[in-house]
């Protein structure tokens, strides 16, 4: 579901002709330099190693954010910034939510089910229509109809806002160079900033409730809208544009009649990704009293009732699948152009059918047979928790003591300036000076925020999680690419793993692995493996069949084929997978804070809950962003420098 398109900024960098490959001699020199630098870093570490002092509880950055908080609290009803700005935004969003809600609730059960089915059938074909019908009926069967509708209302409101803001910005970003350049880092921050970290500021500005939830969701989702729209507009073939210009089109005509229509299917994809992201965020906004399925999950957590949380999780997965299939199939169908007349007839037919259905069946919800997964899931989870504990405990202890602890010790005891210098030096060497210029200040910023120790602890956990994610993801991806049946069997599992809210599987993880860093790693792996598997599988399948045949006819064994031909040729896809994996793992740092991983994730959670920790929590959120930028730039450069070696 959520695939590469998440970060199209990276996807474009795959075009190989941008970077000039270093020659053999250059490569040799790079290796020598790398060796020298490595020795120098180790020596410097041994000399200057610190005892890894704990962070202060009262850094300047924390006090600054606390000051901002107090100012907002005091001036909410007096400052013109609020009276004429923020408060109107809040009011406007509230109106939007209530309008959407009025629409959906007004349709009633029968009306909404029929409408979704009709939309699915017309936009995406009758199979999708049937899927939508089954999915929405399932909400009723699960006894979660009202909650599902609430979640849908919030998601749609956030998506509407995202499209209203994101599509024009995306067009601008593609057409005006400086807009694109300015937006890119802003979007990076918006995507890496953990959602928890801005929940507290959101309630500060927009108070508790739906408007804050919708705006927080939009902040999380709109980068995808902007990026993919920009990608679509940028990909419109220049010949078409030239032809239209030659015919005398004005700039507006070019946009309205050529660029937007030609980018239509990409823009529908942008909407698809926005919906998926919004849906994953809407659950978390339950923590600021947004209604919907998230509330069920949070409540079930308090009661330590995994089964009840699972029901709500299934409803979210179903909602995600229905919305995803409608939009992706709609995107596919916009390519096969049909005459506008035929389309109008279909819409009219669907409308008539809809009215007929609504008129024929009473608006009240019929008595649906009820079903809940709660009891069987609780039994199964209880059994697993009781019997697997010995093995999982040993696994946790092994990885913690063998890998995590040594890595953490080294990182924490490194003086901050040495770390920054090492990042700058290796960054410049591996990824080019541009990457180093961004990465080194990011590293220094961690110290500047006063969260050095926690940042390094988090970095250690994140690195281990990324390595494990890649190992598992690549292994599954390779299997899927080689066995079609396996791939079909695994796909729905991947969909579910990605859309199932992590809160649902956190508790069994805590039971098996204790409140620990490793539990956070497990949660991150579950969340980050699916996109890695998809990208690896696609990368391998994209290797031209002629190459594979040539290798086979030259007598390669399957193992040689994989290691010598397919994997090297799929390098671009693999590196993109690594980059995606990093972003996804970082997104789970805060969730890790909820299950005993401590460090930055816990700081963010605590900042959300305790008044005196507000500033620290916000600073920790920024520190996670800095870590993200650091890792992203280093791997992105890695990708440029190595991806095109002859």
């Amino acid at each position: 579901m959520t695939e590469t398109a998440l970060r199209p900024g990276r996807a474009t960098s795959r075009t190989p002709d941008v970077v000039v490959a270093p020659g053999r001699r250059g490569l040799l020199r790079t290796r020598t330099w790398a060796a020298v630098l490595a020795v120098a870093t180790v020596a410097a570490y041994l000399v200057f190693r610190t005892d890894g002092a704990a962070d202060e509880s009262d850094a300047a950055a924390f006090r600054f954010f606390d000051g901002v908080r107090d100012w907002v609290d005091d001036n909410r009803d007096t400052s013109p910034f609020f009276l004429y700005g923020i408060n109107y935004v809040r009011l406007g969003v509230r109106l939007l939510v209530e309008a959407v809600q009025g629409g959906l609730v007004g349709l009633g059960f029968t009306g909404l089910v029929a409408a979704v089915t009709a939309i699915g059938a017309v936009l995406a074909g009758w199979r999708t229509g049937l899927l939508a019908l089954g999915g929405f009926l399932a909400f009723g069967v699960l006894g979660l109809w009202d909650e599902s509708v609430d979640t849908l209302v919030l998601t749609l409101s956030a998506v509407l806002l995202s499209v209203l803001i994101g599509v024009p910005l995306g067009v601008l970003a593609a057409r005006v160079r400086w807009v694109g350049a300015t937006l890119r880092p802003v979007l990076d921050v918006m995507q890496i900033m953990p959602t928890f970290a801005y929940l507290a500021p959101m309630t500060l500005l927009f108070l508790i409730g739906e408007p804050a939830a919708v705006i927080a969701t939009m902040i999380y989702a709109v980068p995808a809208t902007i990026r993919i729209t920009a990608l679509g507009i940028g990909e419109v073939s220049p010949t078409a544009v030239e032809a239209a210009t030659a015919l005398g089109s004005t700039r507006w005509q070019l946009l309205a009649k050529v660029r937007l229509p030609m980018a239509r299917s990409t823009i529908v994809l942008a909407v698809n990704q926005t919906i998926m992201l919004a849906l994953s965020m809407v659950v978390i906004t339950a923590l600021i009293d947004a209604p919907g399925l998230g509330q069920n999950i949070v409540n079930a957590l308090q009661r330590v009732n995994v089964g009840a949380a699972f029901d709500a999780g299934v409803a979210i997965v179903i909602l995600a699948i229905v919305l995803d299939r409608i939009t992706t199939n709609a995107a596919r169908r916009t390519r096969t152009l049909r005459s506008p007349r035929a389309r109008r007839i279909r819409w009219a037919a669907a409308g008539v059918a809809l009215v007929a259905v609504v008129a024929a069946i009473p608006l009240n919800r019929p008595e649906l047979p009820g079903y809940s997964f709660a009891a069987p899931v609780n039994d199964a989870v209880g059994w697993i928790e009781l019997h697997w504990y010995g093995g999982t405990e040993a696994l946790k202890n092994g990885i913690s003591a063998g890998v995590l602890d040594p890595l953490e010790t080294v990182l924490v005891t490194t003086p901050w300036w040495l770390f920054v210098a090492a990042v700058a030096a290796f960054g410049a060497l591996v990824s080019g000076w541009r990457a180093a210029v961004t990465a080194a200040p990011a590293a220094a910023g961690l110290a500047g925020l006063g969260l050095w120790q926690h940042s390094m602890q988090t970095l250690a956990t994140v690195l281990v999680a990324i390595v494990l994610t890649l190992l598992i993801g690549v292994a599954i991806g390779v299997f899927c690419a080689r066995h079609d049946r396996l791939a079909t069997a695994v796909r729905p599992l991947l969909d579910a793993a990605q859309t199932m809210p992590s809160f649902v599987y956190l508790l069994p993880a805590v039971a098996l692995f204790g409140a620990s860093r490793f539990t956070a790693i497990v949660a991150a792996i579950i969340f980050a493996v699916p996109p890695v598997v998809r990208l690896v599988e696609r990368g391998l399948r994209d290797v031209p069949p002629t190459v594979v045949e040539a290798a086979l006819s030259a007598g390669s064994t399957p193992r040689q084929l994989l290691w010598k031909v397919q994997l090297p040729m799929a390098r671009g896809g693999l590196l993109l997978a690594a980059n995606q994996g990093i972003v996804m793992v970082l997104a789970m740092v805060v969730v890790g804070g909820l299950v005993g991983a401590g460090a930055l994730g816990y700081d963010v959670v605590a900042g959300f809950s305790q008044r005196e920790l507000f500033g620290k929590g916000l600073a920790a959120g920024l520190a996670i962003v800095l870590l993200g930028i650091l890792l992203d730039r280093l791997t992105q450069g890695f990708h440029h420098a190595k991806g095109n070696r002859p």
Partner: protein
């Protein structure tokens, strides 16, 4: 109803635009100043709180004809809601002198509405099986002797003390430091994580020393025993960094927004009159958790069986 609200909100926008700016509460349905209006109850994230709220909401709705809106909020955010008019009452508050100072004394947007009748206990706990096996473990002086038992992958070679949800009242880091215990505080990060860890400690007979509190529904299923720390004396927790004594017993109380209290509606009076015992709360919590009832079912069952308890709460003339 919805359309009506939209129209009203639209009208509010235009009026406000005419007379200059929107305040933070604009567009909200007015909180219940008058009789038979809407009551906004904050729901803090633990089951004991929900039990109080469930019964109060049930009585307000079913016996007194109010409309109750429950808002699921963490403690601090719920207090913020007093200032903005989004929360009318918090029905189980654990201490929080800092928040009381800020919102009751300085901003004057909230008032204390008296105790709920529940005794809150916060402390360090171990599972029952450990007390059976090591009887002297319940004295803090012996904790160091057993530190090795509590070692985990997270505790850096010392014993592990598992701390609770970050929004709860805690002195654990200071306690470990000031009592010079050979322990590391590990942050579980959530209420759910600590309950799960406690359940596993019993199920797998694994050692666990953890932050916990009563009244708590888990005690209906399994037994945990409090470790005695140096006795609490008034003022020994005045400086949070120098705390070296046990947690005090909390008189849990109710807080209401100033506006709600000044309106003195029958809803406010009911909340003011509400007091019950730990047994009452544990019973409703048990309905909510172990018996899997919804809030209104649990409240209905309790209300039907305990008329003598709740009758006096209902104000005269309602």
């Amino acid at each position: 109803m919805r359309t009506l609200r939209t129209v009203v909100a639209a009208a509010v926008i235009t009026t406000l635009a005419a007379c200059g700016g929107a305040t933070s509460g604009a567009g909200e349905t007015e909180p219940s100043a008058g009789a038979k209006g809407k009551v906004n109850l904050a729901i803090n994230p633990w089951v004991g709180y929900e039990a109080n709220a469930a019964v109060i909401a049930y009585l307000l709705e079913k016996k007194m004809g109010y409309q109750v809106e429950k808002k699921e909020l963490k403690e601090e955010i719920a207090w913020q809601g007093f200032a903005t008019g989004e929360v009318d009452a918090i029905v189980e508050n654990w201490g929080h002198p800092d928040l009381k100072k800020s919102y009751i004394e300085e901003k004057k947007v909230a008032v204390d509405v008296g105790p709920t009748g529940n005794q809150g206990v916060i402390g360090w706990y171990v599972p029952q099986w450990m007390v059976d096996k090591y009887p002297d473990i319940t004295d803090w002086k012996n904790l160091d002797k057993y530190a090795d038992l509590f070692k985990t992958s997270e505790s850096k070679g010392k014993g592990q003390f598992l701390a609770g949800d970050p929004s709860f009242v805690t002195n654990d880091v200071a306690l470990v430091a000031n009592l010079k215990l050979n322990y590391t505080v590990v942050y579980s990060g959530s209420e759910a994580a600590i309950i799960k860890a406690a359940q596993q400690a019993t199920a797998q007979t694994k050692p666990l020393l953890f932050y916990f509190y009563e009244p708590q529904w888990l005690f209906a299923q399994q037994k945990y025993v409090r470790v005695k720390l140096p006795e609490y004396k008034a003022g020994c927790d005045a400086d949070p960094k120098k705390v070296a004594c046990d947690y005090p017993d909390y008189v849990l109380d109710k807080i209401a927004s100033k506006k709600f209290a000044d309106g003195n509606s029958t809803a406010y009076q009911l909340i003011k009159n509400f007091t019950w015992t730990n047994e009452d709360q544990n019973l409703v919590s048990d309905y909510l958790t172990n018996q899997g009832m919804k809030a209104d079912q649990a409240a209905e069952k309790w209300v039907n069986e305990h008329e003598a308890t709740w009758k006096p709460w209902i104000p005269a003339g309602s």
